[in-house]
Symmetry: C2
């Protein structure tokens, strides 16, 4: 299996397939056609689905549709969701607090194990069971605890310097909530969660 | 200008072009080639840019690159960011609080003017200057105040019923933070901000 050849757009759709297959499975559907499967997935058609899954093997039996429990298991495997991933959060403001207390991460094995801030009134607080540490300790703590991913929830103008600290501490993946694009080494993957841009996009349709 | 023919992917990229052109403009760049423009935009190449902008008119002078101040103005126009959009927030938990106090919305004309929750301990609180009202009042208040968009920041299992209330009150756009896909009438546009799915996607690259 040559992972490097799989398009980024395919990887982006896999978590949506996982969510959809879990929902169908919970509804008691065990064998689902590609047409039915994509019905609630906006912007994805059954050709996308078949093409995407073909990168990872042969999931559907001809005429029988896809086996939901098998698909769930395989998607979890492909996305490596069967082991724990340790995450560092930087920026324990309102958004950071929401992330620290978010219930949906744990069941997928994502554990925010350390949190950092630069504000004296926040440092030392426990949020969601996690102690907020001073930003100066970021590199040494991340290195020592072998943290694999970072979430950046700081204002736009400090996001790049936080990103630099995370990557120099060896982090390989960043989820960036700051409304700015980060400059990172090639081996580091950044995903942007850009709420304001999504709102602007929605605004286009509102005014039509 | 036939808006209906513009691909969704194009609309999705316009806010990124706006952010990029503002940054270049702030750096003192007034005329920028498409190659340079897309350099910091992951997954977007100069062909995408030219094609996308061609839907809205002719922005670049041959050999001169794009005029940043003109592009900023036109993108704001296309995305209709020169008027205020009134937004209702549903769910005033940690994420809702982060959204109510988020500084980046105001400068784009997005104003959260009403907020709702169903928990007695939250109803009546002022968050970011906005009073949290009981969820029972959602439909009448949204209708009366002519709110145009909704943000759903409630748990997954109540997101669909909140969405139903918003759309029956006449809302035409929803930004959904709940990890579930919503079933809405055709004329309503939903954008999903799916933090857990983005984290799963990032996880794929982490483990490579």
């Amino acid at each position: 299996m040559k992972k490097l050849k799989i398009p980024e757009k395919t990887i982006e759709r896999l978590p949506l397939y996982l969510r959809r297959s879990e929902k169908l499975h919970a509804m008691g559907e065990n064998s689902v056609t590609s047409q039915k499967f994509v019905r609630d997935l906006p912007g994805i058609n059954s050709d996308n689905l078949r093409k995407d899954l073909s990168y990872f093997g042969n999931y559907g039996k001809k005429g029988n549709g896809y086996d939901m429990s098998r698909l769930i298991k395989e998607l979890r495997n492909i996305l490596k969701l069967n082991k724990e991933t340790h995450v560092a959060l930087v920026g324990a403001g309102n958004l950071g607090t929401a992330l620290l207390t978010h219930q949906d991460f744990n069941r997928w094995g994502f554990r925010i194990t350390v949190a950092f801030d630069n504000r004296p009134k926040v440092i030392g607080n426990q949020i969601g069971g996690i102690l907020v540490e001073p930003i100066q300790d970021l590199e040494s703590t991340v290195r020592k605890k072998k943290i694999e991913a970072g979430m950046i929830a700081v204002p736009a103008d400090s996001a790049q310097s936080v990103s630099d600290s995370l990557t120099s501490a060896g982090i390989k993946g960043i989820l960036n909530f700051a409304p700015t694009l980060l400059d990172v080494p090639d081996e580091v993957k950044v995903k942007q969660v850009d709420i304001t841009s999504t709102l602007k996009e929605l605004n286009y349709y509102l005014q039509e």
